[in-house]
Amino acid sequence: MKRLFVVLSLLVAASMLLAACGPSTPPFECKDALGCVDIAPGAPIRVAYAMVVEGPDASLGIDSKRGVEIAIDDKKELLGHSIELVGENTGCNAEGGQAAATKLAADKSIVAIVGTSCSSEARAGAPILSDAGLTLVSASNTAPDLTDPAKHVAGYARTAHNDKVQGAVAAEFAYASGVRKAATIHDGSLYADQLQQVFANRFKELGGEIVYQAAIAPTDTDMRPVLTEIAAAGPEMIYYPIFVAAGGFVTAQVREVSGLENVKTMGADGIFSPDFIKAAGENVKGMYLSSPDFSAFGAGYTDFLKKHETKYGEKPLSAFHAHAYDAASIIFAAIEKVAVKDADGTLHIGRQALRDAIFATKEFSGLTGKLTCSATGDCADPKIAVYEVVNPDPATWNPGAAADSNPKKVYP
């Protein structure tokens, strides 16, 4: 350690001397309120991810990160520069979000950020990034308060849809399909808890009755006791907007519980994936899933899935890869719009200009639909549809409205 210190201080001294002697080019004058990122000719444009890529929630972040990586592959180059993806793990918790944000904020060469994965990360991390002049676009934060005008942080935008929209659509569908008594399950995650609460509120507003609000741990495997408890309340539908592992267990076990043989089941986009169908097994047939309306999805999505399979050897791990792809694409488009190239070929990107350009995104056609960002950063195309799983074979996964689609769009 001591030696390292000696080495470093010598180096610093030496190079200060060198710098004093060497010629210096007149710097480009940056007029941007938040400063500029300068990219020398041949140097890559650095975009960062802030996602959970480690630990039990890793599949969420890895899924999004891969979305970004494919977006980079597709883009190949930006204004003659390659795109370099750097990033930090956020751990799906507030402290991880804060640490990652601090590190990214300290790196002045980063242009923009795709992230965060979990809403708790954004609450702790977004202010730090925003204060540092960075703009972040999240692919999977769905908590309503993040884009609530009272709490919105200037540099924060997202391509994920607000829970308020999805939960409400789910409730409206449930009511419209004749359900009057519903039960909900959440797994203690911000996402599921929020969504089921929005669902419950909207459902009650419509005149329905919430007979039971249950909670589990995401690591639970035996759901039969809690389902038995729910059965005693006599619901006509169970809404469980949770994740693949636990969602699979609930679906697989729900018919084993007496009283629930014919109950309707419904999930949300957290389990809108072939993985879930596989985990849930036969019982998944007839289950409803709310998700972005794929009829509005760009045609590129099937293409995307193919690339994913080739590149990573497996199907997407979670639901937000396409949103991540779009988040990255929006950032790239905005960079193309605002970057200035000066005489010696150096690229200058104004941070405020970039932020403005991202927030000004309009009718951007991405994988998840036509994206338009609101003043508080909600960029998602909030068209939510409800699908019904018609075939429990994951190989038939092909969401849409066509006759042979699976899952098949049933609402609106």
């Binding site: 599949s59 890895i62 249950a214 909670a215 039969r224 006791p225 408890e229 699979g248």
Partner: protein, 353 residues
């Protein structure tokens, strides 16, 4: 006389009685109001008991691994949860190979047995290697050292599995032979539950016979009592310890296999929570005590299953199932207050002055 009686009661005793009374009060009041609410019929309770017993029998099988190792080395084998995970995870690949080749449809029972054996074998290999690499060099170290290696080994195995095989959840095939209900003594039960219960009980009986009736079992008990004397009697202590780990591994692999066919999902983090529960079960029953581990496992499974509904639902607590671990751990404290060495008591040679 009263004065000397009072002198023998410390403030802590009083606090403990009060705590116990409060717990007992909540349990009794909650149970009565749940039972009186009329929301749950006999069938509900029967179902809950069956669920509890199936889950509990898996806990029991894992708990046996903890108890065997604890009995012989006095250490908490934290990596046991990963030993449990590795078996079904490894045999997932066998299962999917059998499925794609069509063999599983033709010979479902044989395939299941093959998969089970492979799971047990894999867990056994991991268990023995962990002992060899991480614990054996620490035989003479104070007990915190192997505890830390165990934690380290646990992380290492988890993340090696995640790194090698991916972070996603893997699904066991759905087999028709495991579906449907059977009628046992007039009780309608799911076939899978029956299979899990019978296999688990069978394995436990086998283990009990092994430890109590065979020469190997006698050697194991001797090593557990006193390693040095056992070595003097010509017992190869290292070999017995390895064997103990192997047996624990086989049982954990079997537990993992039963879990995998019942719940059909395996993943790299599936071991942690059941491992924790099984360890709790082992302590509950009296660590180092084989029947204790079985009893503790079943008891814990049962409490987790019926506890929230029986004790808490009647009190009007929202989402009581969320609190099932709270119930389990509180009962653990409650039981340890009255029986400081678990339900059946510790089977360890404890020395005092």
């Amino acid at each position: 006389m009263t004065k000397s009686w009072l002198k023998r009661v410390s403030a802590t005793d009083v606090v403990m009685w009060v705590v116990s009374l409060i717990i007992a009060g909540i349990v009794i009041y909650g149970s009565i109001s749940s039972l009186q609410s009329g929301k749950y019929d006999g069938n509900t309770w029967k179902d809950l008991i069956v669920y509890g017993l199936t889950q509990g029998s898996i806990y029991a099988l894992i708990a046996l691994g903890y108890t065997l190792v604890y009995g012989i080395l006095r250490m908490i084998n934290f990596a046991h949860s990963e030993i449990y995970m590795s078996g079904p995870f490894a045999s997932y690949f066998l299962a999917s190979a059998l499925l794609t080749s069509g063999f599983m449809d033709k010979q479902p029972w044989l395939s299941l047995i093959l998969v089970a054996l492979f799971a047990m074998f894999s867990s056994m290999v991991i268990a023995v290697s962990v002992e060899r690499i991480a614990y054996r060099p620490l035989r003479k170290a104070p007990r915190l050292a192997p505890l830390i290696t165990a934690i380290g080994a646990s992380f290492f195995i988890q993340y090696v599995f995640k790194g090698l095989f991916g972070a996603g959840v893997k699904n066991y095939p759905e087999l028709d032979v495991l579906k449907g209900q059977v009628n046992i003594f007039g009780l309608e039960m799911y076939r899978i539950h029956v299979i899990v219960l019978i296999s688990a009980v069978g394995l436990m009986a086998l283990l009990y016979t092994l430890v109590m009736k065979t020469k190997l079992g006698k050697a194991m008990r001797a090593v557990s009592e006193d390693k040095d004397s056992a070595a003097l009697m010509g017992i190869n202590v290292d070999q017995i310890i390895s064997t103990t780990f192997a047996i624990g591994g086989v049982l954990a692999g079997a537990a993992g296999f039963l879990y995998a066919i019942m719940f059909r999902q395996v993943s790299w983090y599936m071991g942690f929570i059941p491992g924790l529960k099984a360890f709790t079960a082992a302590v509950l029953g009296g660590i180092g005590n084989i029947p204790g581990a079985m009893l503790g496992g079943l008891f814990l499974g049962l409490i987790e299953s019926i506890g929230p509904t029986l004790f808490l639902a009647g009190l009007g607590i929202p989402a009581p199932n969320q609190l099932k671990d709270v119930i389990a751990f509180t009962l653990l404290v409650f039981i340890l207050i009255f029986r400081p060495t678990g339900i059946l008591g510790e089977r360890l040679a404890t020395k005092k002055a």
